[in-house]
Symmetry: C2
Subunit: 341 residues, 2 copies
DNA sequence: CTTTGCGTGGTAAGCGCTTTCCGAGCGCGT
DNA sequence: ACGCGCTCGGAAAGCGCTTACCACGCAAAG
């Protein structure tokens, strides 16, 4: 405590001196360089290191080597299970590779992405994983693309999750197809008056899911009775749904592009005296863990979130080889929130 | 892509040369040092910086300055809403202070804490926040305490959440008191045959909550019919509860030391044909978001998780002043999972 | 008109490492 | 006995920055 006075971390020079060897030797002994050092000297260095409580300054190492061992993850909100599951996957994989993970949250405004990326570049991460959905319109993303290019130029490998924007490694998620399948399955269960609850129309992920769902409906000759746009959160969806109900909308099934939003929608229904799964069906997307505990258990599309994260890192770490290798498919999971009617 | 060939990030020297000034001036212009530089020169440097797409190497800055702008957060599992909520709070506060956040997960084995801390020390974080519960027995924690001391010596300010172990700043959480109140409230609702579902007895947080709950019962002249120890996760609690039920235990109320565990317990009850909130009451702890969406809504103790995170950072950043200032109180929230009987 | 001092730019000495390069010592073949 | 090629320590040159220190010019003070 209050060691303000003596901020004297042990340095490599200290260890070298204590062991009676040169810094070069100490450095080589403490981290398997390509060069071999005498067993006895190695032992001496290790002993000194232990005795002095030495811990290599990773920052200085990074500067000297010109590269870091960190992977940066950009996401909307750590507290959102969608993002935190992905993050967990990244962390797990990172640990295996002896990498440290830094997390960058853009919060509610995705516009902050650019500022976030700019700040991040200074850290020179080895890998950057973007879990945050990007803009659909390439023009909106131009400054972002530029910044990403700058990042690559400074040595960072960029991997985006679910983005199609060019030039970077990416993990494609079968949002469109899965949403379409979900629609088909719901129609087969006898629903016909759908309301779609979606997020920002400028963003890719909600759009893909919403469009896919509509495509699925269309192939059954249907279309949603309404498409409502609302915030990405539980609260946002709750408000939107409540407003929709207040305006007289009476769907027999609600599809929210996100489980978190579906949860909010269900709460709104209940508040309006409609029992989810009885009076009106509710379906979400992602299959976050808590969706299994709600009653009725929520119909959704299962996405292997954690695997998305670990795989993104693996893709980034892998050689140049086919960045496009397969897209991750979602799996429709029908539960009690959408019983056959 | 594949700029492997020319990993040529623009350096300060490049900017200085391009602007026709010395590196010192460029450095001073690009980040408000105490020294003033001529307005015109500043403009020139800024222009060059912009034109070349310069981004200061934060690592080199850290080495030169001898201090970083990062806060490290140690937690059990990012995907667990308890931890991710705390992390969200830290991130939010960090952003205000222009700090970057690195996350370190210990996973299921808390023993990995030591290894994690060792690796972390290399990063020389300015602040370390430990959200992970520590051992109760100081002896178990001795190597940890040593490592924390080493961290402080190398300039890191340590702040623990909910830990009492000495010498570091800390945020105390009123686990014991709140759990006790919860017990009292449940007894008042007419419950009497309690099963307590708790985590690792060697860890502080579950122990405080469990002990507090028992103290509350005791003051009503009761004691639990069983205290079961299980994993901290939903799955762990589910298994433990299922086993308890299989062995013939028939509580009228289950208290789990964590909402996540309570969710697992509820699932186990249901699987055994017992309806939570009808046949047996269920209560948790933390008031994670999803606990409001389950049916029946879960009785719990509300802890301002995100605030815990932001406040921890504030405490760490604050001067030496009273590290103990107040403990965070939990608030009992009675919901439908424990109706009066 | 000289002295003092301040304001501001540049020079260079670090920060804690890695790694290139040099040279000493040694085993071997001829 | 000599030279060649190895192996393996150490000296020192960076890595990209910051900052103490110096130098210079100019206004104010004596």
């Amino acid at each position: 405590m209050s060691d303000q006075s003596s901020p004297s971390p042990v340095t490599l020079a200290d260890v070298a001196a204590h062991a009676g060897v040169s810094m070069a030797t100490a450095s080589r002994a403490l981290n398997g360089s390509s060069r071999v050092v005498n067993a006895e000297m190695t032992e001496r260095v290790l002993a000194s290191s232990r005795e002095l409580g030495y811990s290599a300054n990773a920052l200085a190492q990074a500067v000297a080597r010109g590269s870091t061992r960190t992977v940066a993850v950009v996401l909307g909100d750590v507290a959102d299970p969608y993002f935190s599951s992905i993050a967990a996957g990244v962390i797990e994989e990172a640990e295996k590779n002896d990498l440290v993970v830094t997390m960058w949250a853009t919060g509610s405004q995705p516009d902050r992405l650019l500022a976030t990326l700019k700040a991040m570049r200074g850290q020179r991460p080895q890998v950057l994983i973007i879990a945050q959905s990007g803009h659909l319109d390439p023009e909106d993303d131009e400054p972002i693309t530029d910044e990403l290019a700058a990042l690559q130029k400074s040595g960072t490998t960029v991997c985006t999750i679910g983005e199609a924007s060019g030039g970077f490694r990416r993990l494609l998620v079968g949002n469109y197809e899965a949403a379409s399948e979900l629609a088909t399955a719901l129609v087969a269960r006898g629903y016909s008056r759908f309301v779609v609850l979606r997020g920002d129309p400028a963003l890719r992920t909600p759009t893909e899911r919403s469009d896919g769902f509509r495509a699925g409906l269309k192939s059954a000759g249907l279309e949603p009775i309404a498409v409502e746009v609302g915030g990405f959160s539980r609260a946002g969806a709750l408000d939107t749904m409540a407003a929709a109900l207040a305006s007289g909308l009476r769907p027999d099934c609600v599809f929210a592009v996100t489980d978190v939003m579906a949860l909010g929608a269900a709460a709104a229904l209940r508040a309006a005296g409609l029992e989810p799964g009885v009076d009106v069906g509710v379906a979400g997307f992602d299959d976050i863990e808590s969706v299994r505990d709600v009653t009725p258990a929520m119909t959704t599309v299962a996405i292997p979130l954690a695997e998305l994260g670990s795989r993104a890192l693996r893709v980034a770490l892998a050689g140049e080889s086919d960045p496009d290798e397969g897209s991750i498919a979602g799996e429709v999971v029908l539960r009690e929130s959408t019983p056959a009617r």
